[in-house]
């Protein structure tokens, strides 16, 4: 019982303040976040993501920083931080691995993946390996049911998983080998880097990776094959007043339209990206 009570307290209620340089940087970022909203309190969720980008989890000093910046009490910040599952009260691994155990994924094999993976790593829900590289979480539906069973690493999608693929994935992560998501960029960022994107800061990777997985395209592929389209417009699609000129387009396509993405990776497929 006393052990359980102890666990309720964050192990590192690190209230030691940030060094002045770090604090200055955080203040600048916080200013950016605050500028997005008509009212300052709305900045709290992104600021908590920012704290995780700095400390890896919601630390005591992170809570103090949010409270000071927004003019609210640390208790108010803590009340919010403990409501949302993505805010962690203890450090997680550099690679936070989620296994979907909601009904459909569980039935399709998520339960078996979870059991085998948890045994393979020797860690349970919300626990990290001793080397601090990998932590595990039983996640709820992640809106990718057509790719079941689904896993995530630092909130990137790993689709159509099996127990073998899952174990290889965490082994590779622990060995420092490159691991790529099924629908995501050409690098896998760390937990802290991912948290910074969640706080609303650009990491320049939006243009990487497939536009859609194979499953997402099933209906469209069939429609193309059978010549099915939506009805033609009753008035015709309005022409733009001033058509966009090619030189005005600042955003070149990452690949030539209609041509497959380069390399030996089949768009949307797990194969070849998770070896």
């Amino acid at each position: 019982m006393s052990e359980q009570l102890l666990k309720l307290e964050p192990p590192f209620r690190s209230t030691e303040p940030y060094d002045p340089e770090t604090r200055e940087r955080l203040d600048r970022d916080a200013k950016d976040i605050l500028a997005r909203y008509p009212q300052p309190r709305s900045a709290l969720l992104p600021m908590l993501h920012l704290v995780q980008a700095e400390d890896g989890y919601v630390t005591g000093r992170g809570i103090d920083f949010c409270a000071e910046t927004l003019g609210i009490t640390p208790a108010q910040v803590t009340g919010v931080a403990t409501f949302y599952t993505q805010y962690k009260r203890e450090p997680v691994g550099d690679y936070h691995v989620g296994v979907c155990i909601n009904t459909l994924c569980a039935v399709m094999g998520g339960d078996q993946i979870w059991n085998e993976l948890s045994e393979h790593l020797g860690v349970g829900h919300d626990e990290s390996t001793e080397d601090g590289t990998v932590s595990l979480e039983r996640i709820e539906c992640n809106a990718a049911c057509d790719f079941a069973p689904v896993m995530t690493v630092n909130w990137e999608f790993f689709d159509n998983m099996t127990p073998e693929k899952a174990k290889r994935l965490v082994d590779d992560l622990r060995a420092g080998k490159q691991v790529l998501p099924s629908r995501g960029p050409n690098t896998l960022c760390t937990w802290k880097q991912a948290s910074r994107v969640l706080a609303g800061f650009d990491d320049g990777l939006a243009h990487e990776g497939v536009q859609a997985g194979t499953e997402s395209l099933r209906g469209l592929d069939l429609a193309r094959e059978r010549g099915w389209t939506a009805p033609a417009a009753d008035t015709g699609r309005a022409a733009p007043d001033e058509p966009v000129k090619p030189e005005e387009i600042t955003d070149p396509p990452p690949n030539e339209p209609g041509k497959p993405i380069g390399g030996d990776v089949k768009p949307g497929s797990q194969e070849g990206r998770n070896q």
């Binding site: 709305s42 709290l44 969720l45 908590l48 009340g79 919010v80 949302y84 599952t85 993505q86 909601n102 009904t103 459909l104 039935v107 399709m108 094999g109 339960d111 078996q112 996640i139 709820e140 539906c141 992640n142 809106a143 990718a144 049911c145 057509d146 790719f147 069973p149 995530t152 990137e156 159509n160 099996t162 629908r183 609303g200 650009d202 536009q211 859609a212 499953e215 997402s216 395209l217 099933r218 209906g219 469209l220 069939l222 429609a223 099915w228 939506a230 009805p231 417009a233 009753d234 008035t235 699609r237 966009v244 387009i249 600042t250 955003d251 396509p253 990452p254 690949n255 339209p257 041509k259």
Partner: protein, 433 residues
Amino acid sequence: MTTLTPVLTRNWDQPDSFTLAGYEREGGYTALRKALAMEPDAIVQTVKDSGLRGRGGAGFPTGMKWGFLPPDSPNPRYLVVNADESEPGTCKDIPLMMANPHVLVEGVIISSFAIKSNHAFIYVRGEVLHVIRRLQQAVRDAYAAGYLGKDILGSGYDLELVVHTGAGAYICGEETALLDSLEGYRGQPRLKPPFPAVAGLYGGPTVINNVESIASVPSIVANGADWFTSMGTEKSAGFGIFSLSGHVTKPGQYEAPLGITLRELLDMAGGVRGGRKLKFWTPGGSSTPLFTEEHLDVPLDFESVGAAGSMLGTRALQIFDDTVCVVRAVLRWSEFYAHESCGKCTPCREGTYWYKQLLKRLEAGQGSEEDLDTLLDLSDNILGRSFCALGDGATSPVVSSIKLFRDEYIRHFEQGGCPFDPAKSTLWGGAAV
């Protein structure tokens, strides 16, 4: 025979579909130019005439929702897009925003202009990192192209659009919980009335719409209300993305007119895997009462699904074949609702906890027939007794499964355990007939 009607998904097979250039090549942002030359009220009328109904589950007419904003409120108006897609089985908005974020951005600009709002938000769930990157990039590109910001395309209209990332809470898909979360609080539902149209974000008049609803607006403005109503049924107009998942040969996204049947969709998707028998399915996510083989020909529109005893919801068609134990499925959904109940209302908080305990016992074969009556009694005490619909949704799988599969519950405790082998249900279980 119903055929597919790709509109929102039409450009998804282009490798650059998510870029501004890729979207504009397919006619993107032409509807915006047309809209900016229209009277805002005329756009609201067009959306009303189209019969577009909310694609987030409840099916409330979108144009009518816009019309509820009080004309004379001194507070600023807001448009908030609900991109917190988390209902089990629902997986349409996430691929939409990954492949075609600009159609949502264009929809936001047109819709905000129509309701005379100068500040819009997209509240996206936090567990979908690459989708968040794509949305943020699309918004940045739209600003750079002059589609957002001050004096959009010289029209004199200003709009700020912010992508706001959630932090892991299913309840934030409930519109008033979403507002609390966006204001920086715990995401807990508010008592209605007042409805958000009157007192929403920061107390101002607010419209909250689902991603797919807003993404449908550019095509309606470009092609006209008649074009939209030429698809679907009289009361459920237009197209929608149907998401097939589970024990189906080709799971995926199928964009079709409302009113298509599961029989037609299954036929397109290669049928139930391995030629096995369909056991049960959800028409619109786990919060909608289960259907069986008997319901294969129910037109998937709001009225027909409702008349057959369920709800169209988000067209999240989760397919379960005869290898699956319904008690296990319902237990897992109940564990989900217990985990996600925000704790504000007692019937939902305690009721979902009780569900979990009772169903665990039943699945392990240690329950009794009395437990089934307790579950039904408990359901009566949850349904309609909380601020929001989370608890109501939790009762759907429980009540419908007892009604449809009472014998299977009984077999569990008669036999002293689950009669099914979970290994056979897996993707690799090879459960051919």
